[in-house]
């Protein structure tokens, strides 16, 4: 029977092979996507393990010997540069990171190959100056990706001590567990489930592609005496030919595309191709599951048919789907809300409730698949009521008569839209969780600021001011204002006009008395000033007295001053001359330098290079690099976005495959119609209407449902509820347009297959 099945599948002529090839190709694409999906977690794990040596340390006990380590994130242009500064805390027993062979001495550095290449490319005063002299290369096994910019720099111990660097006795070799907030973990679970559903739909749809031709063959077999059971077995064998070839093709596609996928950055870093690999157990399970889906699909198809010796007939149409199909959707929605509420209250183990939420979300997706035909049928009936032309009539009747089939064609897109809408809603919430370090800079601005550490000074500001292309450098001392032993306000000890010029706040007015508040802060009174930074050296901090008379502190005002400046500017700008002892100002450490340049990127890099060389712990932002976002949500958002793009593209492919299959099943009618004068544009209109109308209508409903689910999840999880912005409509609209574009790609071959000259074959 197996041999006969193989012979029927493979020896059916060019058409049969083409159908088989199309099915196998679609299965291969779906399999490859699933293999990449399964590779994601191992790839992240492998990457984290490779960089664990600089992310996680064995900290030395108080007073113990070891290595002083400080890690800084820096930039070269738009590229991330990780600087790992090392110094032996004592003469011996200073462990060396596994990334390098020997402890670099101050001024020496090991660099990654990509950084070495970039250093050779850029002038020394733009990059090499902050790295030092290169004495070796960081091992590949200690880099997150081939193009990662990393430097391990030998540094004077005192500099690192001043920064408060960690003394370590060892370096981690395994990645620390990702510490995600509960809602982030939930989002990851839900995103994973949401993304995989359309892939499964795609694979299942693909296995239907050559079914019509297969059914005719099987009818012929019934004529010569094959039993229904034998016919079913033959159908399974034929389906397995396509899925096994497809699965194998999927592995080949996976291997072929892995180097390209590895170039897609996540967290500004690409991948080592060989780390993108699923666990063998999961990979084998997947390949078996694809065969199971193919075999099950063939059997389900056979159940819907009566293959008699005289031909193939579809079973009598099932009753029209009823509105009761919405019930499971409501139930699974409530179950999802309940699971999230239980997760939040912590009354049950997190793994149980998280798993429950995942299952409930899967239930919502399944319920959409169940309720979809009812809604699709409704759309078909409404369309038929208002149909005017022949194409609309044909499309509406088709949709209304076979809502299950019509929904099957769009189910992949519908589920993707649901998942996308839910996550757009999550995204609004996650953005509200991000910590923005706003760096408001004019287009030609550079800012350097210190957290801990030292190195910024008036001298450095003067030196920077002397660089070619630099038009100004303002040293700023960040201070706290204390009264009655309590912290009252945050201030900058600097010249107000110079700050206003450095920030490009044209038209802003500084108070004549030297004390200017921003946005109307009330700082009237007498204050003690102290440095607004942590001094880890134990030195006595400087202090100064400031008397602020009420009438002397007009608010900084400027026409068109950005409203969000309040989060960036201090509450008060204090000119040193306003202090009781103006000379006391110089005792305060410079913690920021605002620089203006001619705006060229080269000058910006030169400034950054000079500052980092003098103050390795300084953070330098050149021009407006955009807000620095912290927290795990950005990462998750990016993962979700990548997943969604892939999912929606795949869903478009599903739609194209389904439309092709449906049209081929009705090829005979279309050939007759076109022979009788139906134009090619009429055929195109019919196909596009048949796919497009239910797609847009049901996708709209799905998007609304997705937003409701997203809002409900955020609300129950205790987040701030906010509607997604217009970008959601834009992205979803564009995605649907892409889906329809993919469908339109099927039109030329369908036109050829249904051209009137094919009539002689009918």
């Amino acid at each position: 029977m197996i041999r006969l099945g193989l012979r029927l599948a493979l020896a059916g002529g060019r058409g049969a092979i083409a159908g088989l090839g199309l099915t196998a190709t679609a299965v291969a694409i779906g399999t490859a996507i699933l293999l990449f999906a399964l590779s994601f977690a191992p790839a992240v794990g492998a990457r984290d393990a490779r960089t664990a040596w600089r992310d996680s340390f064995v900290q030395a006990p108080e007073g113990a010997e070891g290595t002083l380590v400080a890690v800084f994130e820096d930039r070269v242009g738009a590229r991330l540069l990780t600087r790992v500064h090392l110094a032996p805390a004592s003469a011996d027993a200073a462990p060396i990171p596994p990334a390098i062979d020997a402890m670099p001495r101050p001024g020496e550095a090991y660099v990654s190959p990509a950084l070495a290449a970039l250093m050779a490319e850029l002038p020394a005063d733009q990059l090499a100056g902050r790295i030092g002299s290169v004495v070796g290369t960081i091992k590949d096994s200690s880099l997150a990706s081939p193009d990662e910019l990393v430097a391990v720099i030998g540094t004077e111990p005192d500099i690192l001590r001043a920064y408060g660097a960690t003394v370590v006795t060892g370096y981690a070799s395994e990645a620390a567990a990702l510490d995600l907030p509960p809602i982030a973990a939930l989002i990851v679970v839900l995103a994973g489930m949401g993304a995989l559903a359309p892939v499964a739909v795609f694979v299942a749809t693909a296995t239907r592609m050559s079914a019509a031709r297969r059914e005719l063959r099987l009818a012929a077999l019934r004529l010569v005496g094959a039993t229904p059971g034998q016919v079913a077995r033959l159908a399974v064998v034929e389906a397995l030919v396509a899925t096994s070839v497809g699965a194998l093709g999927g592995v080949v596609l996976f291997v072929l595309f892995r180097p390209l996928i590895a170039r897609i950055p996540l967290d500004e870093t690409t991948w080592w191709p060989d780390t993108i690999a699923p666990s063998p157990v999961l990979a084998v399970t997947l390949l078996i599951a694809v065969q199971a889906v193919g075999a099950a699909g063939a059997l389900v198809t056979m159940r819907r048919l009566t293959i008699s010796p005289l031909g193939v007939q579809r079973r009598a149409a099932s009753p029209t789907p009823r509105a009761a199909r919405m019930l499971p959707l409501a139930i699974s929605f409530i179950a999802l809300m309940l699971a999230i509420w239980l997760y939040r209250t912590g009354n049950l183990p997190g793994i149980v409730t998280l798993g429950g939420a995942g299952l409930a979300f899967a239930g919502v997706i399944g319920s959409i698949a169940f309720a979809g035909p009812w809604l699709t049928g409704l759309v078909g009936r409404v369309l038929h009521r208002f149909a005017r032309g022949g194409a609309t009539l044909l499309a509406s009747r088709r949709v209304g008569d076979d809502p299950r089939g019509s929904f099957g064609a769009i189910s992949g897109v519908i589920m993707a839209v649901f998942v996308a809408s839910a996550f757009f809603t999550f995204a609004v919430y996650t953005r509200s969780q991000m910590v923005f370090v706003t760096q408001l800079l004019p287009p030609n601005g550079v800012v350097a600021w210190l957290g801990n550490g030292s190195g910024l000074s008036d001298d450095l500001a003067d030196r920077i001011a002397g660089l070619d292309g630099v038009t100004g450098a303002v040293p700023i001392r960040e201070v706290g204002l204390a009264r009655d032993g309590g912290y009252q306000a945050f201030g900058w000890l600097a010249s107000c006009p110079e700050v206003v010029a450095a920030l490009g706040l044209e038209g802003a007015n500084c108070a004549p008395g030297g004390i200017t508040t921003t946005f109307g802060a009330d700082v009237t009174g007498t204050y003690q000033l102290f440095p607004d930074r942590t001094d880890v050296t134990g030195a006595t901090p400087p202090s100064a007295t400031l008397v602020v008379p009420g009438e002397a502190v007009p608010a900084l005002s400027a026409a068109g001053l950005p409203a969000d400046l309040g989060g960036f500017l201090p509450e008060v700008l204090i000119d040193p001359v306003a202090l009781a002892d103006p000379g006391a100002a110089s005792a305060f450490p410079v913690t920021r330098i605002h620089i203006t340049t001619d705006g060229s990127p080269e000058v910006g890099e030169r400034v950054r290079n000079a500052i980092i060389a003098a103050a390795p712990a300084a953070f330098v932002s050149v021009q407006q690099e955009g807000p620095t976002i912290k927290g795990p949500f950005e990462e998750i958002g990016r993962i979700v976005a990548i997943g969604l793009v892939g999912t929606l593209a795949l869903a478009g492919c599903t739609l194209a495959v389904a439309v092709t299959t449906a049209t081929l099943e009705r090829r005979r009618q279309f050939v007759f119609l076109r022979s009788a004068g139906m134009s090619a544009s009429g055929l195109r209109a019919t196909i596009l209407l048949q796919a497009g109308v239910p797609l847009v209508a049901v996708a709209g409903a799905s998007a609304v449902l997705g937003v409701i689910v997203g809002l409900a999840v955020v609300w129950i999880a205790g987040g701030t509820v906010a509607l997604p912005d217009a970008s959601m409509v834009g992205v979803l609209g564009a995605s649907l347009a892409v889906a329809m574009l993919i469908v339109s790609l099927t039109l030329p071959p369908l036109e050829r297959m249904t051209r009137p000259s094919s009539l002689r074959h009918e």
Binding site: G389, Q669, L673, A676, G677, A680, P756, L759, R760
Partner: protein
């Protein structure tokens, strides 16, 4: 282009008084050649059809009679030779123009399976008009007029799957005639019917076409079907052996 504005009244005996028109041919073909791969389906056939004339194209299976019909109807373009309809070269037209011609000037009846299963009888008959941008209301009104004339009353709302083979073929005849064609092409129109139903369909087809002034080209290998025609053209091995005109 509409050649007939109103549906005709049917004749009680379509076979009576078969007369041959002697007016200028409405459809002519000269020296038609058509090859599929290594097979010559047509080898220089000439053909002509006068207004109101009914011609049966006969011949054994594989003789090329369907290919001839497809070339005459602009479904296939011949490799050599010309096909003229109403003074215009069909073989030189683009597919779009030929589609328009088939939609407006020709009607088609095939052996079986030509009705759209999702549409009702009325919608199937109205379809050519809808495809020609006639409003749905007008199209269905015009389609509805054909049902009593072809003995189809009560079948307007039925789907093809709920009709007998003979009923479905009569609906196909109505669909072929609804747009007022100048020529109806029928390819084995009774091939899937028993003799009684086949005769019923042929009587209705020829009578309706005659009273509508439409010419008919019938491809058949059945002598009793050919008997409804004014003239027979025999095709054998891609050549015609009967009178060309």
């Amino acid at each position: 282009m509409t050649f007939l504005a109103t549906p005709p009244a049917t004749s009680s005996d379509a076979r009576s008084e078969p007369t041959r028109s002697t007016s200028t041919p409405i459809l002519t073909a000269h020296g038609l050649h058509k090859r599929f791969g290594t097979t010559d389906a047509l080898r220089g056939i000439d053909f002509s059809l006068s207004p109101g004339e009914i011609v049966a194209v006969m011949g054994p299976s594989g003789s090329g009679k369907s290919t001839l019909l497809h070339c005459l109807a602009g479904i296939l373009t011949p490799d050599a030779g010309t096909v003229e309809f109403d003074g215009r070269r069909i073989d030189a037209m683009g597919e779009g123009e030929r589609s328009r011609l088939r939609r407006t000037a020709f009607g088609f009846v095939f052996q079986f399976g030509q009705l759209v299963p999702e549409l009702t009888g009325l919608e199937n008959v109205a379809l050519p008009l809808l495809l020609d941008d006639v409003s749905r209301k007008d199209a269905e009104a015009r389609a509805a007029e054909w049902f009593p004339r072809l003995g189809l009353s009560g079948l307007e709302g039925r789907r093809p799957g709920d009709m007998s083979g003979g009923q479905a073929q009569r609906v196909a005849v109505a669909r072929a005639l609804v747009a007022g064609p100048a020529v109806v092409f029928a390819d084995e129109p009774t091939g899937s019917l028993d003799s009684l139903a086949g005769e019923g369909v042929m009587e209705l087809l020829t009578a309706a076409a005659r009273s509508a002034g439409a010419s008919v080209v019938i491809v058949t290998h059945e002598a009793r079907v050919a008997a409804y025609a004014h003239r027979e053209v025999i095709v054998r091995d891609g050549r015609s052996s009967g009178p060309a005109a």
